[in-house]
Amino acid sequence: MKLPIFLDNHSTTPMDPRVLEAMLPYFTEKFGNAASRNHAFGWEAEEAVEQARKSIAKLINADAKEIVFTSGATESDNLALKGVLEMYREKGTHIITSSTEHRAVLDTAKSLEAKGLATVTYLPVDKYGMVNPDDVRNAITDKTILISVMLANNEIGTINPVAEIGKIAKAKSVLFHCDATQGVGKIPVDVQAMGIDLMSFSAHKIYGPKGVGALYVRKKNPRVRLVPQMDGGGHERGMRSGTLPVPLIVGFGKACELCGAEMATEAPRIAAMRDRLQAAIMNALEESYLNGHPTERLPGNLNISFAYVEGESLLMGMKDIALSSGSACTSATLEPSYVLRALGVGTELAHSSVRFGLGRFNTDEEIDYAIKKVIEVVTRLRDMSPLYEMAKEGIDLKSVQWAAH
């Protein structure tokens, strides 16, 4: 086993060697511009792009023509929200989204609000981080043009009832955008069955290269239109100009192909490792709390709060395991995770959270190591924690007058 161990597969994933192999020729001998219509170099590149487009579309049950390539999910989210708003603003300017969306959606919504271009409703989530479809229905007004709700959350892995939301959107003739960055390739995604009109996702979360993503844009029932946010050569059916990064797209296609072929065996394998990690840690350590939905959760996700221990110190104690924390000390803003706060997790437990993200290349041996290390470090830090000492003495920490600073 090689250290450090990578258990942060929600942030990014290592590229699958099979993906790299597929990409390599397109850097050197097959370097053509996919938009060059007059020579073999261009044709070859275009053919590779169209093949990849098909593989990507197949994974989400879409038509290849409905895939618009972007630089990643952040750009896709921006294009979806801004492009739809600009196209349909005569109809209305109201957007419905949820409070636990990725920053790429939330900050885009906030920027549209700040410019006075949109009014936005941020729906609450339940204690598991799930959006209630009834809340979506009730929030719709005659000015609503777009609902944007994520498929699976990047911190807690909770999977939203997207198909139900899609049905409501359809019934009310409101467009439905779904940020499916964490879900695509990990769980079955079907834009038809789920009633999704626009969907963002990216390659590097599914063992593909960084720097390429896609926006699915529905062509039929209804035909979704967008105002492009990048002007230029009119690539991608006029929705996103810019020379296509052929090698990245080829890699994206290969990554989707592999996910499609292996998901049925890979997801249960990863979930079994995750379940083992969860059970071992939570059985050994009292007052450890699961964040996120107990069952409706991504197979590789495990987010736990360890009471009386601060998250960043936990990560520091386990520096040979790459993890992420909702602790303020790990964020630039010094605020603890807004996702955990939206679930109603107390600030102190939000500071104490650790996110494990398991993926394709993790092994049982690595999980054994992580179990041992987590228990050891949490125990050591609790010995060092004045809060744990007080709790053990029977002092109710909530009754203490703390001096906030």
């Binding site: 110190s313 520091m316 303020a328 600030t347 010995d383 924690s385 004045p386 000492e389 703390w402």
Partner: protein, 134 residues
């Protein structure tokens, strides 16, 4: 964020981690911070003849907070009460090479020292006759 070697050393080998009985004579206890803010420090001193003969800490917080309080106990030992008053958060920042986002950890450590000293003075003052032998 990369930690300085000194922060890592204090984090891995905390000095004087533990507790004194806070009711014991000569012990001053300072507890500062709040769980919602992500750091709470408990710093204790044991005083004999106006000199700190021992110090202990327990900290809930990030690595820099743990290192700041560990360092503080090291510095406190052997100092007179007057000398202990002079410890500044900037000294801690310098010694541990703390980045700007971690300066609040050093401030908290200074506050904890002040709180422990104040607690000791309060306890000593309430027991008239003791502690004023000279």
């Amino acid at each position: 964020m990369a930690y300085s070697d000194k922060v890592v050393d204090h984090f891995n080998n905390p000095r004087n981690m533990g507790s004194f009985n806070k009711d014991e004579e000569g012990v001053g206890t300072g507890m500062v911070g709040a769980p919602e803010c992500g750091d709470v420090m408990k710093l204790q001193i044991k005083v004999q003849n106006d000199r700190i003969v021992d110090a202990k800490f327990k900290t809930f917080g990030c690595g820099s907070a743990i290192a700041s309080s560990s360092l503080a106990t090291e510095w406190l030992k052997g100092k007179t009460l007057e000398e202990a008053e002079q410890i500044k958060n900037t000294d801690i920042v310098q010694e541990l090479n703390l980045p700007p986002v971690k300066i609040h950890c050093s401030v908290l450590a200074e506050d904890a020292i002040k709180a422990a000293l104040a607690d000791y003075q309060k306890k000593a003052g309430s027991k008239t006759g003791t502690g004023s032998a000279q």
